[in-house]
Symmetry: C2
Subunit: 411 residues, 2 copies
């Protein structure tokens, strides 16, 4: 395995331009891939139209996400392999953050205060009880609490909260800081950045390159390999053959809020809730920010903020923690989560030589950043996907049958 | 009476700088006063820190207001004289708009489709019935309707609406366009504008002027007369003697929304409602915008958007017109309405020679723009307040006893 140290020491030379790795997309998947690949000595160019410092203008899932690292409280029946991947990635987070903060000089707001998941009514409590059983089978720490115990931990919870589950290892991070840190670390590791949009990947590129990345201004970047990591726009990039499964945009509307100056924190840890079957969360940060979200809507690429979306989030958050009324709203956000045909990530090579995917992270992009970076760097340097990531290979049969929507790329 | 025609014809000369009229504040009261005064041949300088083209950044009541011209459906017991002033101003609106659009070249979105005021529950209906009686005594047109008749007019109303009152002459205008038109008309009539904040009015000014307007950058403008029209900041401008009644900020939170492209209008006229005693409105514009508001909160000069404020507006609007869920939220707004001690406007001279007020319009600033401009131009050209405005004289006994909070200006 080549390392950045090999590169710096002159033991190996950087690859020529026509063998460069072009990463399409500057969200978390793209940036963690670019950084990790550059650390291993690859020549990496990241192409992204939006500046990383202006996330509020962005509709990218990474810039909008709340930053929950919550494999235990996200556990879903039938998705146990994905949960195991999440648990692995959560376990890597402390070291990942330490390395990234060191490499970038930017703190990423990693908070290790755990998550309390609570139930509003009897039916919600029944769901939580089932979930707690699943958590036990997955081997994650999760403690069943009564309503009173929940309120002892979080006194601002509504009296009507029926009970909950404390997941002491479900932490959080600030995804916007994570993006900035990954950008800075990438730059320090040698990642070049082009502020443009990629519209097409061609077989063959300039200077005899294996692939070309066509920009919207007409320029073509030569590439030895390309990583498509453009979220739910990934399937809109034209490619030589239909190897990219459709990526379903799942719209999320949420609010960034703030505890009024001088007031104590509203909640002390991430509080998630089921309110009459509807999920809601409050993610507090050390600086007083509280992210309150989120809807899950399948409305194509529509990114409008709607009265109904805001309403749903506010309604459920107020049921759980009536004191949210006092929060100042600093920003309303809409983002599109990229959902693959089986809702699991798409990692590594496709049927087009040199073309890789790092996408389809759906609700789990922040959590899965460490494993994504590790797995992608491995395949980009010629190794196989790590064992733990093989179920999520981009060319797995479960998703490759779905590339029939290829024609819509040309619309 | 001097007119702009006299001025242009050379029959009279513009007054010298030390006799200039300085208008403090670029909201509707200030701009309509400046325009009308310049039309009468006065040399007018308007001082306002915020550009009129950037209303969304402004917290001014004028830039945030929905623009309802609704004296009938605003009628309040005990405020009959104010309602009569409003009815007079509403009656002037068509001519006022025609003249302003002609003078400025800017259309102001005047819509003459009337207002439907509806009641949600039995108690709300009782309030409407009382109001309808008051409307009759005030002589305004208002027709009592059943719930079914309301829904025939506005099919998107909730089935639970109990009944309503149709006020066919309660119209609307777009206050942001009105501001821009007044600014343009003012400029064409010779109003000079200074992009600054006035911090003090002094007795005596440069060049032997009667008054001075001290700007925050230290400059002093000479003035023969000064009009304080700075909304609920007016009582924060230092003056030679305590002649400015306290102006209470009454915070309003509201949303600007839009019917999705290609969809028909949600409502065809202004729809106001009482929902369990809480007032709410939807003001549609020809371009698809729908303004939905508003809270009334007394929290000092706080202009934070809050979860609780948004919640209240959305809750009540959804009760009346469930289809609001589909509206796109284009902007969330917070403004401060200026409330005088008796909630009525403050017009004309104060106890300091040359110092006038045009303020305290509270919820009625848009409606009262025509009478404000007329009354202020009259006093600024040396006449008395018009008969209809005398009850609202800035130095009336009902408010002058309240200037004891003078000391707080210095904090």
């Amino acid at each position: 395995m080549r390392t950045q140290e090999d590169l710096r020491s002159g033991r190996i030379r950087p690859p020529a331009e026509e063998h460069a790795t072009v990463v399409v997309g500057g969200g978390l998947a793209g940036r963690v891939t670019a950084w990790r690949a550059a650390q291993r000595g690859l020549r990496v160019t990241l192409v992204e139209p939006d500046p990383v410092t202006a996330p509020s203008a962005s509709r990218s899932a990474s810039a909008v996400a709340a930053g929950m690292l919550t494999p235990a409280t996200e556990a879903v029946f039938g998705e146990e392999p994905l949960m195991e991947l999440g648990i692995r990635s959560a376990g890597m987070y402390a070291d990942f953050v330490a390395e990234l903060e060191e490499a970038s000089g930017i703190r990423v707001g990693y908070r290790t205060t755990g998550t309390l998941l609570v139930a509003f009514d009897r039916d919600d409590l029944a769901v939580l009880t089932e979930l707690h059983g699943l958590q036990g089978r997955l081997g994650v720490r999760a403690e069943r609490l009564t309503g009173r115990e929940c309120r002892r931990l979080e006194p601002m919870l509504a009296p009507s909260v029926r009970g909950g589950v404390l997941a002491p290892e479900d932490h959080s991070v600030d995804p916007r800081l994570l993006l900035r840190a990954l950008a800075a670390a990438g730059t320090r590791a040698g990642v070049a950045e082009v502020r443009e949009r990629v519209v097409e990947i061609t077989a063959g590129g300039p200077g005899g390159a294996r692939l070309g990345a066509v920009l919207s201004d007409g320029r073509v970047l030569p590439a030895g390999q390309v990583v498509l990591a453009a979220g739910c726009r990934s399937d809109r990039v034209k490619v030589p053959r239909p190897v990219v499964p459709p990526l379903r945009p799942v719209k999320g509307q949420l609010l960034r809020t703030r505890v009024p100056a001088g007031e104590p924190p509203l909640v002390h840890r991430t509080v998630r809730g089921l309110v009459r079957g509807s999920p809601v969360y409050l993610v507090p940060r050390a600086d007083g920010e509280v992210v309150v979200g989120a809807t899950q809507e399948e409305r194509g690429h529509d990114t409008s903020l709607t009265v109904g979306g805001l309403w749903q989030v506010l309604r459920d958050a107020r049921e759980l923690v009536p004191g949210v009324d006092e929060l100042e709203v600093t920003e309303t956000c809409v983002g599109l989560r990229p959902g693959s045909p089986d809702n699991a990530p798409l990692l590594g090579p496709t049927g087009v030589g040199g073309l890789h995917l790092a996408g389809g992270h759906f609700r789990h992009g922040v959590l899965l950043a460490p494993v994504t970076g590790e797995a992608m760097a491995q395949v980009l340097t010629g190794e196989a996907l790590p064992e733990y990531a093989r179920r999520f290979a981009a060319d797995r049969p479960e998703v490759s049958g779905h590339t029939t929507n290829w024609e819509h790329q040309w619309n």
